[in-house]
Symmetry: C2
Subunit: 428 residues, 2 copies
């Protein structure tokens, strides 16, 4: 961890992919992209038949759920002990620095609980709709699966993600600074259809979503959002929800802060005003410089982060062809553009967004450049489909002060050193 | 397993979602979607505080890779013992009947090997490009990760998928009839960029892709396809490839038969004609009625299957609101339309495609109907963006005879009985 470092550096030179490929190839034996035949002759890994090609491999595993390679054993969620008082309220962070593309595998999706993982038995699971409805209803899981379904890929970000950066406590790795984030395809039933079945009274304006865990975690949701794109999901990335993600059913609130996505959901109460529960008053609100808190901050503003290189993903080569990659997202739509800076925000170049660009979903970006081996101050800046531009930390502090814990969407800086190591730094 | 059953049935009545919701609700206490308050009062699962709400749940699992709920222990890949002579050449089928959406979780992606799972050590992994190139090259895994990357969601289907149906041997479940299929987001390096680095000679027309397993599995690929959209992938659904999917790197050949997607890829030889290897002559070719085989059949033709209800996913209720869902895909593009029949192909209704419609990717479809409780002959029929219509089994046999094992993309029939059970049947 480091505070307020302001290294003096020179920017790495940038260039088009084609140009650096040409220059690399012209260099002969010093090819960045592979080796010359001279290398092949001395490379026993290619000149000798390798062990795994000499013997039959393992057969298929009968009736088994597949697991990652043992060589990937360090690619796991991680927990920071001092961050929360108990493991039941802890955070297990997504290893963003090891991932690529836009899908988070279910086994690596960050988890955060208020009373640990509720162990709900699916045959005893019930969802109640009550309050301002014509017909209070109780659904079993099988009942829910008889309604028309929808599929959508959405990011889920905890409002506290990147919270430690507000006052310069800089955890050294994007797993810890930005890893309260995942992106999954959900399958479920739109709230709109469940509410149609229950029959909303004309005074229905708000929904209280309540979880079946011991904390009875609950949040108020405006009816307009509930009817727009929210759903009760029972699948993530094709299969049943994982226990730590609310098995067997959770609320999906696309683009809005994670604590609204109530897990193990057991009740939807319909009302005419918000409940102002603990988790939307004393927590998950933004305390401004003047001592007042904003009432609700639902939408997750446009944000981005470079996932590699990053403190846990150093550069292993000395110079040349290098891939910068990261994620960008917005609770207000899609990502229109991502820029990357190599000099701490003085100059910017357009990154390439690759893969599907979906509403309220992570976007993957790349910037391919020819690293000159000198230190670089890496930043990324996203612009969303509403035209909103991700702010600097200074810009955000100007509006919000430094009392906040939640909703930090400011530009992150990584300091890539000559030796390839990367550090989390703050520049001003 | 059953052969050539021709049950006499009446079609279930179909109807729009809104219509059946209205009729269901009008029925009062017999609501299909949930229960009346009368039910709630006698439902101890809702009137009593449940065990999991009385105690703190399990805390986060420190540095662990997450696993499915114990309640989902039967949602696994499955193997059919008599299908192959050894587990090293066996198939482990994807449980399609348990999945929804379009993403297959990595732990459930079907596997099929020619010499078992090669246990490649990532630091000793090498990929060679040789043959008709200016500069033979050898890449380490780190070398590959310095090239510009691409992300795409593609289905992978084995050419032998649904092969047992050709002659009426009907395995009783879509896991076994259609489960040599998965759909994953791949991240990797386009072959085009690797070939640019090596410099193709003007006579370069074909690529021989060779695996590092003990069978040295190899296939010939035309250069035009290689340069179009093929890549060397090192990630699937965000994380490293799974061992059984070619860890640490495999070839991705979008839309083409699975055996071309060479796993544990170690060599790309460039030539001016195809190699006619074992796996593209004695295997993976279509033997026609006249005794001649087609030379190559690369593209996987447009196909669909209803995944639920299906033999392993019976209907649990007696009548009313019912979700029919399935998958459709085409090696030639996207899916333009899916129709569903409830009477064995006499009448068709349009299904709803939901979720992203991506090139050479699975598409998820639904048909929501009001089941009258009578037996139904379920079928689905897909049309792709090229205008190609999925054929009946009779139409396919007319062209191909019954010698084939591979490339059966014909319409599948499930017989939904009055008691909710479903059987794999053939109708003519």
């Amino acid at each position: 961890m480091s505070r307020n470092k302001k290294p003096s550096i020179e920017a790495g030179s940038s260039g088009s992919r084609r140009a650096f490929l040409r220059s690399s190839i012209a260099a002969g034996g010093a090819l960045v992209a592979g080796s010359s035949s001279a290398r092949a002759q001395s490379d026993t890994a290619i000149t000798q038949v390798q062990d795994w090609a000499r013997r039959l491999g393992k057969g298929v595993d009968r009736t088994a759920y597949g697991q990652p390679s043992p060589h990937e054993k360090d690619v796991v969620r991680r927990h920071v002990e001092w961050l929360t008082p108990s493991v039941q309220t802890a955070v297990n962070f997504t290893p963003l620095h090891e991932l690529d593309g836009i899908i988070t595998p279910n086994g690596l999706c960050f988890e955060r609980h208020h009373a640990g993982v509720a162990e709900v038995e699916p045959d005893k699971y019930r969802l109640m709709i009550n309050g301002l409805v014509e017909r209070p209803l109780v659904f079993t899981l099988d009942d829910l699966k008889r309604f028309p379904r929808r599929n959508q890929i959405n990011f889920l970000e905890c409002a506290a993600n990147t919270g430690m950066e507000w006052r310069g406590v800089q955890l050294n790795g994007c797993q810890f600074t930005h890893g309260m984030l995942h992106n999954v395809m959900y399958t479920g039933v739109p709230l709109r259809l469940l509410f149609e079945a229950a029959g909303l009274k004309t005074s229905a304006r708000w929904v209280m979503a309540e979880g079946a865990d011991a904390s009875a975690m609950n949040r108020s949701l405006p009816m307009s959002k509930a009817l727009d794109d929210c759903m009760i999901a029972f699948k993530m990335n094709g299969e049943a929800l994982r226990p730590e993600q609310g098995y067997p059913a959770r609320l999906v609130v696309p683009g809005w802060e994670g604590s609204l996505w109530v897990k193990w959901i057991r009740r939807l109460e319909i009302g005419d005003e918000p409940w102002h529960s603990r988790e939307e008053t004393s927590k998950y609100t933004d305390l401004l410089a003047n001592g007042k808190s904003r009432r609700f901050t639902w939408e997750m503003d446009c944000k981005s982060v470079i996932t590699s290189p990053s403190p846990q993903a150093p550069v292993k080569h000395k110079r040349g062809q290098t891939v910068i990659t990261g994620l960008a997202w917005s609770g207000r739509g899609t990502i229109a553009r991502v820029d990357v800076s190599l000099d701490g925000g003085r100059n910017w170049v357009a990154a390439r967004i690759d893969g599907p660009s979906l509403d309220k979903s992570l976007h993957r970006f790349y910037y391919d450049f020819d690293w000159n081996g000198e230190a670089v101050l890496l930043q990324s800046r996203a612009v969303d489909s509403s035209g909103y531009i991700q702010p600097t930390k200074a810009e955000l502090r100007q509006v919000r002060g430094t009392n906040s814990v939640y909703h930090n969407n400011s530009i992150q800086t990584w300091y890539l050193k000559k030796n390839g190591e990367v550090e989390n730094v703050e520049i001003s």
